[in-house]
């Protein structure tokens, strides 16, 4: 199955094209160059899915199960919800990072596989997650590699990775909150993000950060546009927190799409039992590339990948001429293509907005009660884990959690 799904990814990558480089010509951010990805052609129909941010505004509920690896999700809408692996779920409980991108089916209660990204914070049973924030790319990449190699993301390794990541970036958090890095560099992220605006019709981006390449690709430009701020923050924070004057050359960025198609051939299928009906996720780690893809049937939805190009970086100012000529060449040769894409996209975008406005929650607030619907995360094709334990009485279970708890110094 993984082979046939990876062919879908390969075919998808052949239907996109890398755009011109975007960069700060004055050298404000010499270690980052962003390349937009455009579809070679755009269908007339907009997507029928919502991003998690939109879903939360329209009545989707996320709540803590009390278990570190699971979050309960309740979708009362008639549309599937895209939850990205770049999302950090924020609420008055332990922060969680979504392990793998998935689609929450319409009108369903399910559980999401997540990883804890705040080691020193205990879980709060039934606490609601009300917002999402971006997860730094290095943490995402580590998580994906773990999934590709072992079929699961080992929690203690993620905690260790976050701890050393915070130390390396000089960010401080008593609870080892991964967002501390945004707390330290947040102002820079806001200012510098204006260098890299999203373009109409754009479906993805390759961000060259130092000697790393980060790719995010969506099937639909509407979804990309909704998620672009987080996509950019995820890469931008790495550029700001790990300053250098070197950046990977444009040739490597162009090569990444081909390399990605090759790396995805050796992939592993992960599927959440409760989300199996809505989509399948692939993870892969080969040839210095690690990534994940979400497919709905034979249709791609999202792809995210990280490629290490260590040893292939060159000082930004040495590449400035090449980058500027690349920009000029694109604008002279692809003008009509870009104009057509913008026209097609503006029609789709209006229809997508109308679709979003028409969505109303099917259940009343009182009916969107938290029900213990536990699922044991996802199972790879090779692995079949035992079912998740369910307490007889959540109150008694919580009583014992409080009773047996011992605060440790973190």
């Amino acid at each position: 199955m993984a082979e046939s799904l990876s062919k879908v990814v390969e075919a998808w990558l052949q239907r996109v094209v890398l755009g011109p480089p975007t960069f700060a010509a004055n050298g404000d951010l010499p270690n980052m160059v962003v390349y937009p990805i455009y579809p070679t052609e755009l269908s007339a129909d907009p997507p029928n899915i919502l991003t998690l941010e939109d879903g939360l505004r329209k009545g989707v509920k996320l709540s803590d199960t009390g278990m570190v690896s699971q979050v309960h999700v309740n979708n009362p809408l008639d549309a599937p919800i895209l939850v990205g692996e770049s999302d950090i779920l924020v609420g008055p409980t332990q922060l969680r990072s979504v392990q793998i991108s998935c689609l929450i089916p319409p009108n369903r209660r399910s559980s999401l596989p997540v990883s804890c990204v705040e080691a020193g914070q205990p879980t709060v049973y039934q606490a609601a997650f009300t917002a999402t924030e971006a997860c730094p790319w290095y943490i995402r990449s580590f998580k994906t590699e773990q999934l590709a190699r072992h079929g699961e993301a080992h929690q203690h390794r993620i905690w260790d990775n976050i701890k050393s990541y915070l130390e390396n970036t000089g960010a401080v958090s008593k609870t080892h909150d991964v967002r501390a890095v945004f707390g330290r560099y947040g102002d820079d992220v806001r200012v510098l993000s204006e260098i890299f605006p999203a373009r109409p019709g754009q479906v993805g981006v390759v961000s060259a950060v130092g000697q790393d390449l980060f790719l995010e690709l969506f099937a639909d430009p509407e979804i990309f546009e909704e998620r672009y701020d987080k996509v950019l923050e995820s890469a931008l924070i790495e550029a700001i927190a790990h300053p250098t004057d070197q950046v990977t050359r444009p040739a490597h960025a162009r090569q990444m799409l081909d390399d990605l198609a090759h790396a995805s051939r050796d992939s592993k299928v992960l599927q959440s039992r409760s989300l199996q009906s809505s989509g399948r996720s692939l993870v892969f780690s080969a040839d210095g590339i690690s990534g994940s893809a979400l497919l709905s049937g034979s249709h791609p939805v999202q792809l995210a990948a990280h490629k290490r190009c260590w040893g292939h970086g060159r000082p930004f100012f040495e590449q400035l001429d090449e980058l500027e000529s690349g920009q000029k060449r694109w604008h002279s040769q692809q003008r009509s293509f870009v104009d057509q894409l913008e026209r097609d996209y503006s029609k789709r975008r209006r229809r997508y907005k109308a679709f979003k406005d028409s969505l109303k929650p099917k259940w009343k607030e009182s009916e969107v009660a938290i029900e213990p619907d536990f699922d044991d995360g996802f199972a790879s094709e090779e692995r079949d884990s035992s079912p998740a334990p369910v307490p007889l009485n959540p109150s008694v279970h919580q009583f014992f959690l409080d009773l047996f708890k011992k605060q440790l110094d973190v």
């Binding site: 009390g66 929690q155 011992k406």
Partner: protein, 151 residues
């Protein structure tokens, strides 16, 4: 549990009853509850009947354990009945306590597991019922002493 011990002392001061309750609750929490949790989740029985097999299996496990002991020790009917109630209650508490212990012990960094509390809590629950039982005799003794001193 204190009240239960007190009421048992009022109802029938035969020490076998209160010892059965105290030991039944403690053993239910320490042995049968964890055992039930292991049986449920490692044999995938949790998947049967949409997850509603937990209570029936738990009751079956504790009742059968009490009946075996009854067969071996020839308890009176009242003692068997109390052992059944204490066993089922203790097993249910022990099941949820086991899940809490597993959760705290394996996944929640920054929040550790208080092993002493895990061991002592079931014992304390059993001893509380004994304390309730003894308090009746203690109260009566104090009353008789007071009466003898005053009169």
């Amino acid at each position: 549990m204190f009240s239960a011990g007190f009421l048992i002392a009022l109802w029938d001061p035969y020490p076998g009853l209160i010892v059965t309750v105290a030991v039944g609750v403690s053993m239910g929490m320490l042995i049968l509850g964890p055992y039930a949790a292991v049986v449920l989740y490692t044999t995938r029985l949790q998947n049967v009947l949409g997850g509603h097999l937990r209570w029936p299996l738990l009751i079956l496990l504790s009742v059968s354990a009490v009946l075996i002991l009854d067969h071996l020790l020839h308890w009176p009917v009242a003692q068997t009945a109390l052992a059944l109630v204490a066993g089922v209650g203790g097993t249910a508490l022990g099941h949820d306590a086991t899940l809490a212990v597993l959760e705290l012990g394996t996944t929640n960094r920054g929040v550790g597991l208080d092993l002493w509390m895990v061991i002592l809590f079931p014992v304390i629950v059993g001893l509380t019922s004994l304390a309730g039982y003894c308090s009746l005799g203690f109260g009566l003794g104090i009353y008789h002493l007071s009466v003898a001193l005053v009169l």
